[in-house]
């Protein structure tokens, strides 16, 4: 090999990851290791070598360094993308034993670390998911259906529609239950959307995620996903739910109604909480407990109401929000949800504007940014005046659920009064009328 004539930095940039190299700076010490992807935050001209000890080191390479290439990788050693050999699409030979559909969408539970970007990336195929969860199908068949590959922050309402259709398809093909592996950030929105769109599902629709990616030994996914599969297979349940850790321990998980659940912590395993009510139930290993009001199969035929109208928004009221700003952000919308203060208030300076929007046929719905508790327009004069201005009060609906319900209601009818009526009517158990003391310990 000897003295290179080209700049070692250029040569390094062209070498494939996995090459074995020696780098010798002018002061003598020779670094011997395997070239691995550098970190996204690495400095300029820093090359990362994996040493024989397993440690990675960042070396600032200069043009005076001597580079010797010892070997190039025979085949890529880093994250080989396994080509799917088709364990999906086996639907032609529908298995006789009850099977569960596992819809994958990307997100942490179906992610791996990307050592180049330093972040996690969605799995590329279903093999990778069964690779991470080898015992997933011990109780019976699991049919993996990749729907899309997205972090949950990249999911848009059109994806909800696609998912709802895949859920419907799975049930029509005979699935006992459906599991949706989903990123946690917007899992609550998707759960709400599926709740409104998929009516009378014959079995459970279980959304599940992980707060720690499965490449970590401590991933909560190792507890969450098998439990979700079990619930979908064995649960006496016919509604859309979210299954996640009930507390920081790997053990009992909480089952939350899709319209009542909210991510309440950025990183904890037990980030998901049912607001205003206890969770719908729990699952601990294979032991399922469900509340009396959990929806059971009724035998009614499955219906899909997937039409959404996206001309809507969710606006959080804050002190200083001027009527002009609000008007600007709801221009050309058919409806919007306000997350108001306290019992459901915005400054009285908005009364005139809201009245005009309402009379123009824009549906204005009110929720509370407190998240816990119910809105009530009758306690203060502001509320009474907002009610008279045409604002629809949505009781204790979560602002996010109200927003999703707004898209759905607007998709069902062009008549604003019908939209208001749909919004006010309990569709899938999203309203809680009775709030108990023990909820907030």
């Amino acid at each position: 090999m000897g003295e290179p004539t080209v700049d070692p930095r250029k040569k390094l940039a062209s070498l494939p990851v996995g090459s074995e190299v020696e780098i010798t700076p002018p002061d003598g010490r020779t670094w011997h290791g395997i070239l691995v992807p550098s970190s996204e935050f690495s400095g300029e001209n820093v090359v990362v070598l994996k040493l024989a000890s397993g440690y990675n080191v960042g070396l600032a390479v200069t043009e005076r360094d001597v580079l010797t290439v010892i070997s190039k990788p025979k085949r890529s050693r880093v994250s080989p993308s396994v080509s799917p050999t088709g364990s999906s699409g086996q639907s032609a030979t529908a298995p006789a034993t009850p099977w569960v559909a596992l819809l994958t969408t990307g997100g942490t539970i179906a992610s791996r670390v990307d050592y180049h970007t330093g972040g996690v990336r969605p799995v590329r195929d279903e093999r990778e998911i069964l690779d991470s969860f080898p015992a997933l199908d011990t109780e019976g068949p699991v049919r993996v259906v990749p729907v899309f590959e997205r972090f949950s922050e990249d999911i848009v309402p059109a994806d909800w529609v696609l998912l709802a259709e895949k859920v419907g398809e799975s049930f029509r093909e005979g699935a006992r239950g459906v599991v949706v592996a989903h990123g946690t950030d917007t899992m609550g929105y998707t759960a709400s959307a599926l709740s409104f769109m998929v009516r009378h599902p014959p079995g459970p629709v279980v959304l599940v995620g992980a707060q720690r990616s499965p490449d970590r030994p401590s991933s909560d996914g190792f507890t969450n996903l098998p439990a979700a599969i079990h619930l979908a297979r064995a649960g006496d349940l016919a509604e859309v739910v979210v299954v996640m850790h009930e507390n920081p321990s790997d053990g009992r998980l909480a089952i939350h109604r899709g319209t009542r659940v909210r991510k309440m912590h950025s990183s904890r395993r037990d980030a998901f909480e049912t607001r205003n009510a206890p969770p719908l139930g729990t699952i601990d290993g294979t032991h399922i407990e469900l509340a009396a009001d959990a929806r059971r199969p009724t035998g009614e035929p499955l219906e899909l109401h997937t039409h959404l109208d996206e001309r809507a928004a969710l606006v959080t009221y804050f002190p200083g929000l001027s009527p002009a700003r609000l008007r600007g952000s709801v221009r050309n919308l058919r409806g919007f949800v306000l997350a108001g203060t306290g019992l459901g208030h915005v400054s009285h300076t908005h009364l005139k504007g809201l009245r005009r929007l309402s009379s123009d046929g824009v549906v204005v719905a009110m929720t509370t940014q407190c998240l816990e508790g119910e809105t009530d327009p009758y306690v203060y004069s502001t509320g009474r005046e907002l009610l008279r201005a045409g604002v629809v009060y949505l009781d204790d609906l979560l602002p996010e659920t109200a927003y999703v319900k707004m898209l759905w209601a607007l998709g069902q009818t062009d008549d604003p009064e019908r939209v208001k009526s749909l919004l006010r009517t309990d569709q899938v158990g999203e309203f809680v009328s009775r709030r108990r003391m023990e909820r907030r310990a």
Partner: protein, 625 residues
């Protein structure tokens, strides 16, 4: 022998990836239960050690304490690396003449024994290629790493291991020597020298368990074996000696197996429960009563090589038993220790027949309530016996208090390292390097010289203060006006004796203020130097003030008339002794008096008073010499 040493020292900064204080705590606020699973690294290979630990299927519980937070619980991403701790590591690197890495990258080292909630330990290589001179010999330093300490194991029972989160995340500087060490004594000397250098930074934690050593050792023809987590420096040579003897035993076993043309065990496990149903052997009876099994595995060529049930020294039988224990059985029985209590020669013969053993062949038995566990245990035994054909298997061993060690798990390799993507890398700037060089602390050898000169200490005393890590406290207390001799006695005699006393819960390190108060009380004669230990006990264990502690320990100073009357009473009681032994009775009498007055009056004063009284008395009795 050839050995290398890794010294792990806790730093006195906040934790490495969160702002929690690096302090232990006894205040348990709650418990969290978790499971861990081995996962592959970025090169997609599963590490042997990690796979082994994961296969055990343990549950882990973690005690939450005030000195832990969501980061320790793996409920929040790690914060950027503690730069103060990094500076200490870089200072150590400089003191060891090592070359720092341009860009420091934090790695995850897969550890699924539960000691890290995340399932990995975060560690970063900070510098390489240093050296330290110890007794005129240069020892190479291969690496200096900065890593987080693991959680503290507090209990283990029924497939569940309980850890406390206080220690998790405390920064550790790890200094690893090359395999240059040639004797057990050199291992200890180098450990002491590196310890002194680490303490020279004045940013290290003190007390039991704050510095721990791993010894990597192989003999000629052997393999590298790691004895991990030695807390007692004085036992280092002993661990090395025992490991040398163990590896030599393994090599002899290998040779003998070779000579006998023995085949490695096939590992087929046979149920022998029916043959031992009448056995009076305790564990066998218990297992069978619980509906369990006794299983056997043949060990071809091992007859006479496993070692009997008595006698010291390393034994092959213990190696097999340790591997069986690692999967959760109490132990094994092997043919070299049979027949013995409860299992007679007819039963042994029946087992041998069932296994169709030849004269050179041995067998091992495991009795357990669960046939699955018994099977797994014997699989481990067979695997270990197969490894005897290659000599010394590479492995990690736990040090035991008696100086021996026990198998804990396979030796981890590079496959268990992968990048910690949640923590950004740190580029070492020349500014940082210059600042560290400009603020280098005094080197240990300079400190020894200065102590000798400034305080007129003999070289060995100055050296001892430094080796035991007491130089700083010595100087601090002398600066507060205490006599060097008193301070030295306190630091090198009283405190180590107090710390060595066995206790159920660890006692906090005494603060400089407490020691200052103690020395002041001593100087004022509020109690005598013999009472130091009792006062420390009262203050640190029972939370009393110095005077309360002295009072409740009965250390209220004794007045000269009181002492005189106690001496008189002792002489009265021992008249016969006086008659028989005369002046030679002084030392037993001294013991009697001290029993009553210890800690309340200086021993020298007691000796003076007693001697005079004794002479008076002897004179009165008729002057026998």
């Amino acid at each position: 022998m050839k050995a290398g040493l890794e010294v792990h020292q806790q730093l006195a900064t906040h934790k490495l990836f969160c702002p929690c204080p690096s302090e232990l705590s006894e205040q348990v606020e709650g418990t969290v239960r978790r499971r861990l699973r081995a996962t592959g690294g970025e090169l997609k290979a599963l590490d042997a050690a990690a796979a082994f630990e994961s296969s055990l299927g343990w549950t882990f519980s973690y005690e939450v304490v005030p000195t832990s937070c969501l980061v320790d619980l793996d409920e929040e991403p790690p914060h950027p690396i503690n730069l103060e701790a990094l500076d200490v590591a870089l200072t150590v690197a400089e003191l060891l003449h090592a070359t720092p890495i341009d860009e420091i990258l934090v790695m995850r080292k897969l550890v699924v024994d539960g000691s890290n909630t995340a399932g990995f330990q975060r560690t970063a290589l900070v510098a390489v290629d240093g050296w330290v001179e110890v007794q005129g010999k240069r020892v190479s330093i291969e690496t200096i790493c900065l890593e987080e300490d693991a959680a503290r194991k507090v209990a283990e029972a029924g497939g569940e291991v309980k850890y406390r989160l206080d220690r998790l995340g405390i920064p550790l500087v790890e200094v690893a020597t090359g395999p240059d060490l040639g004797s057990p004594e050199q291992i200890r000397d180098v450990a002491q020298a590196i310890g002194a250098l680490l303490r020279a930074t004045r940013r290290v934690r003190r007390g039991i368990g704050t510095i721990r050593e791993d010894v990597n050792l192989s003999v000629e023809g052997g393999t590298r074996v790691e004895i991990k987590g030695v807390q007692e420096l004085r036992l280092l040579p002993k661990y090395a000696e025992e490991e040398v003897a163990r590896q030599e035993m393994l090599l002899r076993t290998k040779e003998e197996l070779h000579r006998r043309h023995a085949k490695p065990p096939a590992g087929s496990v046979v149920d022998v429960s029916d043959l031992l149903r009448e056995s009076g052997h305790g564990p066998v009876g218990t297992a069978l009563k619980k509906g369990g099994v006794v299983l056997a595995v043949e060990l071809p060529g091992f007859q006479g090589l496993l070692g009997g049930s008595t006698g010291g020294g390393p034994r092959m039988g213990r190696e097999l038993a340790d591997h069986a224990r690692a999967v959760g059985v109490r132990g094994i029985l092997h043919s070299d220790e049979l027949p013995s209590e409860g299992i007679d020669s007819a039963q042994v013969a029946a087992v041998r027949t069932r296994l169709s053993l030849g004269p050179d062949d041995a067998f091992a038995l495991v009795a357990h309530a669960s046939s699955v566990t018994a099977n797994r245990a014997l699989e481990q035994v067979a695997r270990r016996a197969a490894a005897a054909h290659v000599g010394v298997p590479p492995e990690t061993r736990d040090p035991l208090p008696d100086g021996s060690s026990r198998y804990s798990r396979p030796l981890p390799g590079r496959d268990r390292m992968y990048p910690e993507t949640d923590v950004p890398p740190v580029r070492l700037t020349s500014d940082r390097q210059e600042r560290i060089r400009a603020q280098l602390p005094e080197r240990p050898e300079q400190t020894v010289r200065r102590l000798q000169e400034q305080h007129a200490l003999p070289a060995d005393v100055a050296d001892r203060l430094l080796r035991e890590g007491e130089a700083d406290r010595f100087e601090a207390l002398v600066r507060r006006g205490h006599a060097p001799a008193l301070v030295i006695r306190l630091l090198t005699h009283d405190l180590p004796a107090f710390a060595a006393a066995p206790r159920a819960t660890p006692v906090p390190e005494p603060s400089d203020d407490l020691l200052d108060g103690l020395l002041r009380a001593l100087a004022d004669g509020r109690f005598a130097k013999e009472g130091v230990s009792a006062v420390l006990e009262g203050v640190l264990v029972r939370g009393r003030s110095i005077d309360e502690a002295a009072g409740s320990a009965g250390l209220v100073p004794i007045s000269p008339p009181e002492l005189a009357s106690i001496v008189r009473a002792v002489l009265d009681r021992n008249e016969r002794l006086l008659r028989e032994r005369g002046r030679a009775a002084l030392s037993p009498l001294m013991g009697d008096v001290m029993k009553e007055v210890r800690g309340r009056v200086d021993g020298k004063e007691v000796a003076r008073v007693l001697e005079r009284a004794l002479d008076d008395r002897l004179e009165k009795l008729g002057g026998t010499p």
